[in-house]
Subunit: 359 residues, 2 copies
């Protein structure tokens, strides 16, 4: 029974999302190395194990530590933080650890302080311009590869990219266009380095590209993460339908203000996070869906979270619909960003009544 | 030693903030009932106890449960969530519990289901228009007061307001103007109801008003919360100087991109939250300060968090300053919203090396 904000996970939708992405990777002959930063749960991770997934991606050393109790091949898709050399060595001792390098300082440091073997991806900037090596900077690539080759504990395994700029796309066509640029960049790198490193792999993996693209030429591995739950942002980008979104926040109704056609729910920034999207209704922090029997239904038109404070969410409701709601009932709200809502909520509750913990 | 994002608490600044607000409340003969939603820590709460504070405010039943082990007079400054009647009864059994009512349905429900005595504040809308009773709606006030008076477990203790709209102010004058409107609304209510309820109190309490105002005529109690740490948002509003901000996030530097004059730190939305402010530099998610010896110094001009993803923070740095930074060092960053950063970080680390836990 709902008494306070509760992040509900629809296991069927989640499993369907996992299976769809798995089938796609098989169809394109891709290694499926899902990013676990969205769910951050050993339990949900086990659902991937159940369908044969053996390798995973995370975005911090802490996450790698958490998952290393059950997974023995983990990529940390984040520029290596040399301040964490101690836990990196602990991990390298017990699992196959794949690190990302994008500058000379980090590889020099690793070369001096690493005690166990790790695999190294060169993190390439495929256009997002957040991190990564400029693909045209062959001098830097050369310097890093020389340092890797000079140390038997360092093993170069390939080039890794993250097309985070697809999050700015609003059509499938736009996503495919950005993805195609990533493919070109990666293909050129593969061509240039494959004679020297015949086993090098190309790893790509944002959820929009992996959901929408149908060309993965030259790609060896994909690392999508958000697809496990999807959310309103991914829907706006064009990655998924509303029906595929696998998490919703149940929020008790604590106030009704008919004069301004607003509902106030117990459910604020500490539950949803403050992630937002902007569309025709202005700023949106979540959208209300119809409640269903052990699931939820369609979006209720024009019924959305218009603002959030710490514990309060203010819901805009079309005039005339206010009588559908009452104090002591609760709303089901799809989040703008499921990764962040998971992070603030810290657990998932299934319709079967199971409480699934996470990091 | 900093190895990953760490929320550093400067105990001296924090204690000074507590003492300043305490002195102000004494000077104005106000009951000081600080809001604990910002720090949410028993340990930091004990610093208030040390200076004689006996009553507190929280914003959820969960927070009241957490603090009820050490505090026996707690106001839940949030519209009563009737779905939590069970823990409300548990709390009412053991402490002086003050609830907020802003609609008829909730008071009817309490009247039927309450098993122990509680105090009731009428939550008034003093202009924020998030929740609360319209002060002109004397019919609703009458109905609620009748229900309260008819049940010996319900005790009306006064009117409570939260001028959250002061967060839109950008000058002390503007804050004082909004505060003065709250005073007028509350004075009229006090005048109207004091013959019937001679002990009724007026409770106000946003951090901007409490920090800036010098007129508290008719007010009996203040409930500021954020002042314990302050932050960049409060600084923008005009509540505090930069030097008063008592928390900063230490973030390891993991990438330097001189071509675009950007640093990438390990420190993202899961650490800062995604709260933002907008000023002359555009969107800002945090500002970098000089590091000091067991404290931090001034803002480093034009050096700020320009974007956040889940674990990454991108710092904009003036051209020419990039050589001041190196991989493996860390930055100290003041948060935009300390309540939210505390909520995502879940603990505070002092310069004395103490780790302070929280809810």
């Amino acid at each position: 029974m709902i008494t306070k904000p509760t992040l509900i996970l629809d296991k069927k939708k989640c499993s369907a999302n996992i299976n769809t992405m798995l089938s796609k990777s098989k169809r394109h002959n891709l290694e499926f190395r899902p990013h676990f930063k969205t769910h951050q749960s050993l339990e949900i991770g086990s659902w991937f194990k159940d369908v044969g997934v053996k390798k995973i991606t995370v975005s911090s050393v802490s996450m790698a530590e958490y998952f290393s109790t059950q997974w023995n091949d983990i990529t940390i898709a984040f520029p290596t933080n040399i301040l964490e050399i101690e836990p990196i060595n602990e991990l390298a001792k017990k699992i196959t650890l794949n690190l990302c390098i994008e500058n000379e300082e980090s590889i020099s440091f690793l070369s001096e302080h690493l005690k166990f073997k790790v695999n190294i991806f060169l993190k390439m900037d495929v256009g997002y311009h957040r991190t990564g090596i400029n693909p045209e900077n062959s001098d830097l690539i050369k310097i890093i590869l020389e340092k890797i080759d000079a140390n038997p504990l360092l093993n170069f395994i390939g080039f890794l990219g993250h097309a985070g700029h697809t999050y700015k796309c609003r059509t499938n066509q736009a996503i495919k266009k950005e993805h195609s640029k990533s493919l070109t960049i990666m293909a050129e790198l593969k061509d240039e380095y494959k004679s020297r490193y015949p086993n090098l792999i190309i790893s790509l993996g944002d959820t929009p590209s992996c959901s929408v693209a149908d060309d993965f030429s030259g790609v060896d591995e994909i690392r999508p993460g958000n697809f496990v739950f999807y959310d309103l942002t991914q829907n706006l980008i064009g990655s998924n339908s509303i029906a595929q979104i696998a998490v919703a926040l149940a929020c008790p109704i604590v106030a009704l203000h008919k004069d301004r056609s607003e509902i106030v729910v117990y459910g604020g920034g500490v539950h949803f996070s403050k992630d937002r999207l902007e569309d025709k209704e202005g700023l949106v922090f979540g959208r209300v869906v119809e409640k269903g029997n052990n699931t939820w239904g369609d979006l209720i038109p024009n019924t959305y979270v218009k603002s959030l404070s710490q514990e309060h969410g203010t819901i805009s409701v079309p005039k005339g619909n206010m009588d559908n709601y009452k104090i002591g009932d609760y709303l089901m709200v799809l989040p703008v960003h499921s990764c962040m809502a998971g992070n603030t909520m810290k657990s998932y509750t299934t319709f079967e009544g199971e409480i699934i913990s996470r990091l």
